[in-house]
């Protein structure tokens, strides 16, 4: 009796194990994991390492009047204040920053189910967690922080993420603001070894319509370290009691792009219409083409060696 029963149990257990082993489905979507080197050609001006774009360059941004006014108040010296030194670093930095990305899945080890996709590998920002387990977003009254709250789903092999609960930050690194009511929808679209991220930023406070940005990355064999440190508050010796700013109408950089690049004022100050091809008609007779590259420092004119090949 017992030998028969034991044998039967062994057969059933082995059969079940076989069935389970071969029945486990692959995780959804496609594999995005790896180190992705930034190819900052699409937004060479916005993603420029270092200080980023010049002050009062709002061209192509669908700013409303409040967003424009708040942008013009901004002084780059705010970045020296301990309380503001980390202001860039909301999840939208994935679209406006210069960094490459390290992407990896967090998997549930028994089923292999992808609980979250993680993005790290950039300076000054802790890895972003993009939850894939269909958990709900927190209440709109929940705390907002630098990381925000991001969930993701696969749509036709494109990872689509949605981020809420971001602290007020910037959508261009020259002080164009985003509010704590801003949201970001990002699409991670992989083709061969090229990754294109398309970000849509909605902000009912500062924008008249969604602001779209794209960035491209190439898969690299040189690993990016995922364990990067968060932005660290330091004392740069500025007076903490004073917020550097420009009073309305007194921003000294309003005319800079016009003087340097011959670009008319109504383009410099942005607005949804400035992103459309037909806007060119409005400025055709006002634009004065520079005879040579006038960017300062001269290294920002680009040239050989600016974008080294990747491994």
């Amino acid at each position: 009796m017992w030998p028969r029963l034991s044998a039967a149990i062994v057969v059933v257990a082995a059969t079940s194990a076989l069935v389970l082993a071969q029945a486990l489905p692959n995780p959804d979507g496609i594999d995005l994991s790896g180190s992705w080197a930034a190819r900052n050609f699409t937004d060479a001006i916005g993603n420029m390492p270092g200080g980023g774009p010049r002050p009062v360059d709002y061209m192509g941004i669908p700013l409303n009047d409040i967003g424009r006014a708040w942008s013009l108040v901004y002084s780059q010296s705010q970045m020296s204040e301990p309380g503001r030194i980390c202001d860039y670093y909301a999840p939208s930095y994935i679209a406006i920053g210069p960094m490459g990305l390290r992407i990896w899945p967090e998997s549930e080890l028994v089923t292999g189910y992808t609980t979250a996709w993680m993005i790290g590998g950039w300076a000054d920002f802790v890895p972003i967690t993009m939850w894939m387990d269909r958990r709900p977003h927190p209440s709109q009254y929940a705390a907002h922080d630098k990381s925000g709250f991001t969930t993701g789903v696969w749509e036709d092999d494109v990872l689509v993420t949605y981020t809420t609960h971001m602290e007020a930050s910037m959508i261009r690194r020259n002080g164009v603001p985003s509010s704590d009511r801003a949201t970001m929808t990002a699409r991670f679209s992989r083709h061969d070894d090229v990754l294109t991220i398309t970000a849509r930023i909605d902000d009912p406070i500062y924008l008249t319509e969604p602001y779209y940005l794209t960035r491209s990355f190439a898969l690299s064999r040189t690993p990016l370290n995922p364990a990067t440190h968060p932005c660290t508050v330091t004392n740069e010796g500025v007076d903490a009691e004073r917020v550097p700013h420009y009073k309305p109408g007194q921003n000294p950089f309003v005319g800079e792009l016009t003087e340097l690049y011959g670009i008319p004022q109504d383009a410099v100050l942005g607005g949804a219409e400035t992103a459309l091809p037909e806007f060119r008609k409005r400025i055709k007779d006002k634009y004065v083409r520079p005879s040579k590259c006038v960017s300062v420092p001269v290294s920002t004119c680009g040239g050989p060696g600016t974008y080294p090949p990747i491994d």
Partner: protein, 259 residues
Amino acid sequence: MNFSRTLKPIVAVGVLIVIASLATRSEVRGQGRGNQPPASARAAAPFDPTGYWSSLITQNWRLRMVPPGKGDYIGIPISAAGKRAADGWDQAKDEAAGNQCRPYGAPGLMNLPTHLRIAWQDDNTLRVDTDYGTQTRLLHFGSWTRPEPRKRSWQGNSIAVWASRRGGRGGPPSARYLRITTTDLLSGYLRKNGVPYGENASLLEYVDLFKEPGGAALIVWTAVVDDPVNLETPYIISSQFKKQPDGSAWDPTPCSAGW
């Protein structure tokens, strides 16, 4: 003997379970692949790219919306040879030689401030017109072969497929994107200040269409230009186009070397 007789049904049931399970799994994996191949590229299209589209110039504005100054190479991985050529660029010479369309070749065209009009010319040819520079790109699917003798042009010869993100032919048909390979280009410019690409440059493009809330749609057109002579590394750039309700903004303008 009795032992064997008792085990036989158990083993048989186990084998049946495994076979049934394998069959089910195979069926799930094979969905969408067992059907007959579609009759045409138009019938197989995972999305509808036709209609009018407007570029959204939200990035690199002063390099795209207006012609930048000579020597402004930021955003292009230009090589020393490419820089020498670009430093010698002369707008007046291009105009005198009738080469106003050199900045409108396929490698740079989609990044310019343009509207697109996309339509099926026939079941296996997608036609993309731009109003900026009045250019036409024909994207050939299927068994199309380029005409002989070989003839170069600003837009070259483009072969298109609906490609899988999983390599090969895997994944659901709805997850495919448009992949375009273009050859037979005339040499031209990547930017309207004479940054060159040569005749032997290769152009590979990936086109996604994303549906947006409220019936809106966005095309994201990613181009990879490889030119070992004029570039130090492949130039990867993406451009965005927003769906338009009609052609009211369509405004054909001829090629211009200076504006």
